[in-house]
């Protein structure tokens, strides 16, 4: 199948004024500014098949937003090629944006002082959505996002969760095949997050919408995306499945045991004890070198145990290690 989005050697460079130190330096900068080149995105390559949903991850300042802005036609890149739904976003912006949907969690496209429904009806006129299709989509989305209660409320009186749901609906009314979601769950509580996730999942599955999801909330990604792209310092570090990622970087398992006899001394060959709290002992073991099942059998044969639990490290911890310990190298330099 032909990719719906193809990104090749994408690069974006900003020139920023570099300040010199001190008053004399500032005075000098006024007449002879020193420009410094900042590379926000460099050598980014990937492509998406129609119907894929990918998580786009990276720490703050990694270049995620810059990439999304280029892909939505808001920014002109310094180099590279992008083809999205058959368009070059920044060259044919006006025609292109009719074929995409975008939600920027920090902003709203709704009219602040008017009821939510007013913004939706304006979008119908703006995208020339046929009346029948508009009504059907609106009915469906209103139900899925539980918007009946506030669809006639002015946007300024909505809670953040309600506003975000309305913004999601606004971005999808024209049934775009390609959708960019930039932090759609930012600042929301657990319930609101879950509702939005379910909606995204449903749209993805039922309509085959291709979705790029940028987020700092890894539970979003864990629940929604099978494929992730990890960006750091403007370079793509990883492009692959989430499960392969955690297996590769965190084969560690935590084994927590509660002993029947709190005073008992306990050891397992080659396995480190990370904590001991009375009868409760926690081991850390490497899933690649140890077989957790065999270890548990040995343990149970030797000691009377009342409770036992095996945990894998949270994705959050894995990703943090990747950022902090620079576990991944840019594809080109590995």
């Amino acid at each position: 199948m032909k990719p719906i989005l193809r990104v090749r050697d994408l690069e974006k460079v900003f020139w920023v004024n570099k300040r010199r130190q001190g008053i004399l330096g500032s005075a000098l900068s006024l007449v002879a500014p020193q420009m410094e080149k900042v590379t926000a995105v460099s050598q980014v390559n990937f492509s998406l098949e129609p119907g894929e949903m990918v998580g786009y991850l990276g720490p703050n300042g990694a270049g995620k937003s810059t990439t999304i802005k280029i892909l939505t036609g808001l920014l002109v890149p310094s180099g590279g090629e992008v083809e999205a739904s058959g368009f070059v976003p920044w060259k044919q912006r006006q025609a292109y944006v009719a074929h995409i949907g975008a939600v920027f969690g920090q902003r709203t496209t709704l009219w602040w002082d008017l009821p939510v429904i007013d913004s939706f009806e304006l979008l119908q006129a703006m995208y020339s959505i046929p009346a029948e299709r508009f009504r059907r989509n609106l009915r469906e989305f209103t139900e899925m996002l539980e918007m009946e209660r506030f669809i006639n409320t002015p946007v300024r009186s909505l809670s953040l969760g309600q506003r975000m749901r309305a913004d999601l609906c606004a971005a999808l009314l024209h049934e775009p095949p390609l959708v960019f979601l930039d932090e759609p769950t930012i600042g929301l509580d657990v319930v609101a997050k879950e509702r939005i996730r379910q909606f995204i999942q449903k749209i993805h599955q039922e309509r085959g919408t291709t979705i790029i999801l940028t987020t700092h909330d890894l539970s979003d990604v864990e629940k929604l995306c099978s494929r992730v792209l990890i960006l750091d310092q403007g370079q793509l570090l990883y492009d692959g499945s989430l499960s392969a990622l955690s297996q590769r970087f965190d084969g560690r398992r935590l084994l927590a045991v509660t002993l029947a006899n709190p005073a008992e001394q306990i050891t397992l060959e080659g396995v480190e004890i990370v904590s001991r709290d009375g009868p409760r002992v926690t081991f850390s073991l490497d899933g690649h070198t140890h077989d957790p099942a065999a270890l548990i059998q040995t343990l149970l044969a030797r000691y009377p145990v009342t409770d036992l639990e095996v945990r894998r490290p949270e994705l959050e911890v894995t990703i943090r290690r990747i950022y902090e310990e620079k576990l991944l190298q840019p594809a080109g330099q590995a």
């Binding site: 496209t109 009219w111 008017l114 304006l122 006129a125 703006m126 995208y127």
Partner: protein, 263 residues
């Protein structure tokens, strides 16, 4: 096209949310209108008419220009540059429309509200303090309305163009203030161009500014020299087209330079 009028309707309704602001603005316009009227009548020699403007015409001139402040946003409009700085412009650029058309719809809705609230109501209130002159004929009134419509188009395009400086400077307020100071003087807002030296007036007509205010007001007062009506209206239309075309070109350049802030 339907989309454009939908934007206009919403902008009008959005504006009605701020009724208190409208009344406050109206009171301010009225106060300064009375001050300006007092000043202008004091400057005019008693019973004299300068270039066809007598005391009643001068007071009407003041009333009309005050009534046009909110409608034409004579004291400046910075909404577009603010949206560039806040990054909200991104939401507009994600829509399959021209930035110029979108803003024109928003501004037209607002202007419609202000034409009524701070234009017509203002004139009615002002008439309680000073006798006002009315257009001599229905035709004259009609041409005044045409000219007023054109002056709105010129004004919007000028405001929009000035705001586009935001794409290049991190704070366009200076540019805007400069632009609106110039337009205030050259449009005949502060002083009727009729009362200015002829060389100055002629200079003004090389700029778009008399098309903002002076032209509709002179048509209203019936002091446009015979045979010049068509020329004046034509000039307004030309300036609108020039400024609109310039806006389109500058927007295109600006978007290439654009860095959406934040997020």
């Amino acid at each position: 096209m339907r989309f454009f009028w939908e934007v206009v309707r919403r902008a009008f309704r959005q504006e009605t949310t701020y009724r208190l602001a409208m009344w406050a603005g109206l009171a301010t316009n009225l106060f300064f209108g009375l001050v300006r009227a007092a000043l202008l009548t004091a400057l005019l020699p008693a019973g004299a008419a300068v270039n066809g403007m007598d005391a009643a015409a001068s007071v009407t001139y003041v009333a009309l220009t005050q009534a046009m402040i909110a409608f034409l946003r004579i004291f400046g409009m910075t909404d577009v540059s603010k949206s560039v700085y806040s990054g909200q412009v991104a939401m507009d650029l994600l829509k399959p429309t021209h930035l110029y058309t979108l803003w024109m719809g928003r501004e037209l809705g607002k202007a419609g509200f202000n034409l009524w609230g701070r234009g017509v109501i203002f004139m009615a209130l002002f008439a309680l303090f000073h006798p006002l002159v009315f257009p001599g004929s229905l035709g004259q009134a009609g041409w005044f309305l045409v000219s007023l419509g054109l002056s709105w188009l010129v004004s919007f395009s000028w405001n929009f163009l000035v705001n586009l400086a935001a794409f290049w400077t991190p704070d366009a307020r200076g540019v805007a203030r400069m632009g609106f100071l110039i337009s205030g003087v050259l449009s005949g807002f502060y002083m009727p161009l009729q009362l200015m030296p002829e060389w100055f007036t002629r200079l003004c007509y090389w700029t778009p500014f008399p098309s903002l205010i002076n032209t509709p007001v002179e048509i209203y007062l019936g002091i446009v020299p015979a045979g010049e009506l068509g020329v004046r209206l034509g000039l307004q239309l030309v300036w609108f087209l020039v400024l609109a075309a310039a806006s389109q070109a500058v927007v295109r350049l600006g978007i290439r330079k654009l860095v959406i802030q934040g997020g």
